[in-house]
């Protein structure tokens, strides 16, 4: 694939990149952080969490930085009062949707949702909690799933399908009822497709997927294996 080098501006800074790169990729290369939860380098892009919305001069509306390629002369703004407010609002909604009690969570201190909320300066939730009664699946020998902490980023679905190739996970139902399932919504421990590789647990941004035996604040996750696997596959 041929790609051309294009120049553009992000937050007033002149930057250049290949035109097959996304706004998010180029921003990160240049040390500009954009909030994100569903995006993970090495996995396909779904543009679902909508935290990485940015302003592009002349565009009809806001643009998802993860899913939009850069073009010549683009003028991108990744931070504004309006964007900050929307991001706070989306994060608040994620907290109100599930059941997130950081103080008792295995991922406390290592949770991407928590980190994003801290960056956004959220100290309380203004929206009513929806209090879903979601299941906790502890049937797997090594791992567990607490759906109350799931934010439906679908990183687990993608890593299982795209990297491991097992396709154990999918999303069932739709809308506010949507939730993650393994196989035919069978208990994870009874899954006939799961290889127990644990990749899903590693990429989960919250404490929804966890290693058994980890207690409060113990669960640190590693996602660097993804770039390693991707690089090795490219070499092959």
């Amino acid at each position: 694939m041929n790609s051309n080098v294009v120049t553009l501006s992000i937050n007033g800074k002149e930057v250049s990149g290949r035109d097959d790169e996304t706004i998010l990729e180029l921003a990160l290369e240049n040390g500009i952080q954009i909030p994100r939860l569903c995006y993970l380098e090495g996995l396909s892009i779904v543009g679902a969490c909508r935290l990485c919305m940015v302003e592009v001069l002349g565009a009809k509306g806001l643009i998802a930085a993860c899913a939009t390629r850069i073009t010549e002369g683009m003028v991108v703004q990744t931070d504004s009062e309006r964007l900050a407010e929307y991001r706070r609002s989306i994060l608040e909604m994620l907290f109100a949707e599930g059941f997130h009690v950081c103080s008792v969570c295995v991922a406390n201190g290592h949770c991407e949702l928590q980190t994003q909320a801290a960056h956004a300066g959220i100290d309380h939730i203004d929206l009513p909690y929806l209090y879903p009664r979601r299941k906790v699946d502890a049937s797997h020998r090594l791992f567990g799933l607490d759906a109350n902490r799931c934010i439906l980023c679908t990183r687990c679905v993608r890593v299982c399908s795209e990297i491991e190739g097992a396709r154990t996970w999918s999303v069932s139902g739709r809308g506010i009822e949507a939730h993650i399932i393994s196989d035919f919504a069978t208990p994870w421990g009874e899954s006939t497709t799961c290889t127990s590789c644990g990749k899903c647990v590693q990429v989960c941004p919250t404490g929804a997927l966890f290693m058994k035996g980890a207690s409060t604040a113990e669960l640190e996750k590693r996602t660097d294996f993804l770039s390693w696997i991707t690089a090795m596959r490219e070499q092959r």
């Binding site: 396709r167 996970w169 999918s170 069932s172 399932i181 035919f184 497709t193």
Partner: protein, 170 residues
């Protein structure tokens, strides 16, 4: 045997309706894009899609179980639970709503002691809602066992299910 038939899994039972399901998969060359059409054929032949059917389709189309389940639960038209002997579908489209469909639904819910989407304990009657049947000129409508009752009322709808209820008892 043709190559495309080589790996056709055995149906869950010798019920002849499985032939229709297999035929649907075959017509689409057992491709993964046949999933929704195949789910339709099961829904039409059996009235609902049970675990055996999901397993059969997953094997037949070589799809992971999670994909089959994910698709079957995404679309409203598919149901994984058996329906009652009679079905009563209240249209909740805008035109019907403006003309009092909510009152009809409430009356039926009260009379049958079930919520929308549920089946009575004796499995006689399922009360369902539809987002729009596309017969807005006749609003409000209720579809009873496939028969459209046009410009209907809460009273008429309740009378009809009461007939079903007395039939079930008798």
């Amino acid at each position: 045997m043709l190559p495309s038939q080589a790996n056709v899994p055995a149906p869950p039972s010798d019920d002849k309706r499985w032939r229709i399901v297999t035929a649907t998969m075959r017509r689409h060359g057992f491709g993964t894009d046949a999933l929704i059409e195949t789910l339709h054929s099961v829904q039409e032949a059996f009235g609902y899609i049970d675990d055996d059917a999901l397993r059969f389709i997953a094997r037949g189309l070589r799809l992971p179980p999670s994909s089959v389940y994910g698709v079957a639960t995404f679309y409203n038209y598919f149901t994984l639970k058996p329906q009652g002997e009679h079905t009563c579908v209240v249209c909740m489209g805008t035109a019907c709503y403006i003309k009092g469909a909510a009152h009809i639904l409430t009356a039926l819910q009260n009379r049958l002691s079930v919520k929308a989407g549920e089946t009575t304990a004796d499995k006689a009657i399922s009360l369902l809602t539809a987002r729009c049947m596309g017969a807005c000129g006749l609003a409000p409508i209720v579809v009873n066992d496939g028969e459209v009752a046009a410009q209907t009322t809460p009273e008429a709808s309740v009378t009809l299910v009461e007939e079903w209820m007395s039939d079930a008892v008798g």
